[in-house]
Homo-oligomer: 211 residues x 2
Amino acid sequence: MIKENAKISMAVIRRLPKYRRYLSELLEKGRERISSKELSELIGFTASQIRQDLNNFGGFGQQGYGYKVEELYKAIGKILGLDHSYNTIIVGAGNLGQAIANYTNFDKAGFIPIGMFDINPKLIGLKIRDIEIMDADLMGDFIKQNKVDIGIICTSKEKAQSVAEVMATNGIKGIWNFAPTDIQAPSDVVVETVHLSESLYTISFLLKHHE
Amino acid sequence: MIKENAKISMAVIRRLPKYRRYLSELLEKGRERISSKELSELIGFTASQIRQDLNNFGGFGQQGYGYKVEELYKAIGKILGLDHSYNTIIVGAGNLGQAIANYTNFDKAGFIPIGMFDINPKLIGLKIRDIEIMDADLMGDFIKQNKVDIGIICTSKEKAQSVAEVMATNGIKGIWNFAPTDIQAPSDVVVETVHLSESLYTISFLLKHHE
């Protein structure tokens, strides 16, 4: 699978969760199959785009029959690596960190928070759901002693890089960064940064140029 | 400007905040000008991509001289509509809503939260910074009586569409949606949805296919 996927563009990868979300809604409604044309109307991508995207992974549809909803939903989940679970830690236990810890949809998808860290003595020792907030100084040892797959950074911009370094040094291979800065990490560490302000500024752009 | 910008793709619009962020860091360091080549090495886009993006707005660089950092920073801010401020309301005052209300970087960029709303009686009446959490039933009247530019939805997936309808009916033209669902709105309303799980699933994809 690696060789094939070496050619998959990030644009395709970013579309896969959207397919999965729509398929999940169809499943909930009891739909058993769907044509690429219907799927296209629902999602807003062209039918040929959809066929092309899915062909990257061997293709699932059958001419004149369409896609089996459940089969495709499960297959995309597997492609996305959602067929097993990931231990996560959340670093920075302010509102955003707590929001993520409380967001049970991530648990349902297999991302299990097993520890939270902060430098604020008022937060250390508190529990969010069942997850204890620990002293940030203990993070490195915690990562070594537990199998942590993904580190979630909810700190300030200033602390983010040093947190990422502790994560990478101790063996974390995936970093989800909410601090508004780009993070440097070794090439075998996946870093995905959510730039919230960049999303907000597209709204102000569109509001300004709509008028 | 409208006619020119009608051709600007969303991909270009989404790159503009990134240029602005890097320029802001250069400004802080006291840099006065930069070539598209240097800017390219910094941001990771090709120099020709950068020139092409900026030419959409008339172009700013000078052959053999590069870009004036401060001038370009301000110009991009203006293009993004960051030359004036926006009143916002936050609907859903849980952790995520509170995180956004507490995030002063948005204020600094001109996005001013003037009200928060929730249906939870335990939250109604509380203040986050100076912003009162009001009963969600009062949202429509509040929007009518105050100039609200952007509505931020931090509710569950189930409530998001009805909240968006109250917003649009009462004159809000920009919606920033954090609920994990696509929202239907009239064509003169800008909707920007942040699908956090879609960002998370790209990490699991890359972790799986890295190996």
